[in-house]
Symmetry: C2
Subunit: 241 residues, 2 copies
């Protein structure tokens, strides 16, 4: 077990646990506290708001290209939840005096590139992206928010506790997956690719010291529970993560 | 002045006024009452809801392709208003026992084709489409709703009375138009084309008898005020209708 001091904002020594294999949940007291990696409130809000807008963009594209009006209607409900969350986060940002458009600008290049990479070639891939990446990013932001001041953290948890309608996306995807094993295998591959790209973009939201060791492995325990939750979302689709 | 009997649902004789030139507002008592052309409530709601969803799709595309995060944020607010209106209309439909997805299906082919025709080749054309067609279609639906039963009409007027954020689109468009006369001239042409396509799709929402005379001119007075309002929206952009 190595002991390192790698957090800029709080100069306490962190015990880095042994790496866990993918999907295994870190247990016990030797776990890195997610809250240690939380950026400042404006940075957190601007990035979370822009990520949510990106999820909305994917959802609204899925609305536009839905195969039937019934499906269109269902997905439009999910898109509405996502847009509401985005506007709630923007409101939090603006009540602190920030201009949301300006604050989000810093995060646009990397998140836009992420959105292009995770776009998907078919409607089903786009919907899979919506479900899996929104799930992962919301989960990530909710955990990261625990490191904010108590009042801000509470308000932000309330935003993420609102309905997201993701179960409606699961219904759509399960129907297609159950009907065709080739679709299942394609979407499983797509889901695995998404988790990599999404963890990378999530990682950019962490407050890491400039002198952080380049050893990415040290960050992995932070993501263990997030990967486990991703695996459960894949399971809900009947796919192997 | 000709007197014709061309309304199926109410067999009263309608005095058709002389045609007015474009933009001229029909006055006096010889005007056709818009309410005479109102379809049944489920038909009205399904078509209005699907038109609103189409406006939302155009707006969400404008969000995705916005040139800056500031503009993206502004347009996302307008998209949210449109999606809220759509969901309000769907709720009206579903509280009457209809399945919204199924009810809208009938209108999808013609409205989807309309959406494709009015898509726009550039971001500014898409935003112009959002502003001008949403304005015209909302105006149209609001007028058409006056022919519904009083309680339904009142609830629907409330939906359309909610904020639409269109002034934010005007700001975006004016900025581009004022900066470049070539843009102004292109968007003026685009706006003129949009009004034709949009009046055509609006016309399909009218309850016309199967034996209606093919003479489209007889319908024109109904649209006179709607065209006048369109002209005012073009004016607001500094464009000649």
């Amino acid at each position: 077990m190595r002991v390192v001091n790698w957090f800029r904002r709080r100069k306490k020594r962190i015990v880095v646990p042994r790496l866990h294999s993918r999907g295994e949940v870190a247990t016990g007291t030797n776990r890195i506290d997610f809250a240690e990696l939380t950026p400042g409130l404006p940075q957190f809000l601007a990035q979370a708001a822009y990520l949510q807008l990106t999820v909305f963009e994917a959802l609204s594209e899925a609305v536009a290209n839905a195969p039937t009006t019934e499906v269109k209607e269902v997905v439009s409900e999910v898109a509405g939840h996502s847009l509401d969350k985005h506007h709630d986060l923007v409101e939090e940002l603006e009540r602190r005096g920030a201009d949301a458009g300006d604050a989000m600008k810093h995060y646009a290049p990397s998140i836009d590139a992420y959105r292009a990479r995770t776009h998907g070639a078919t409607w089903l891939e786009t919907v899979t992206t919506c479900y899996l990446t929104a799930g992962l990013l919301d989960d990530f932001s909710r955990r990261l928010a625990t490191g904010l001041a108590a009042d801000a953290a509470a308000r932000i948890q309330q935003i993420y506790a609102k309905p997201d309608g993701h179960e409606l996306l699961v219904d759509q995807l399960r129907e297609a997956i159950d009907a065709d094993p080739r679709i299942a295998s394609k979407l499983a591959m797509w889901g695995r690719r998404l988790v990599g790209d999404t963890l990378l973009i999530a990682r950019t939201a962490l407050a890491l010291p400039p002198s952080s060791p380049s050893d990415e492995a040290r960050l992995e325990p932070v993501f263990t529970e997030i990967i486990a939750a991703h695996t459960r979302r894949m399971d809900a689709l009947g796919l192997t993560a």
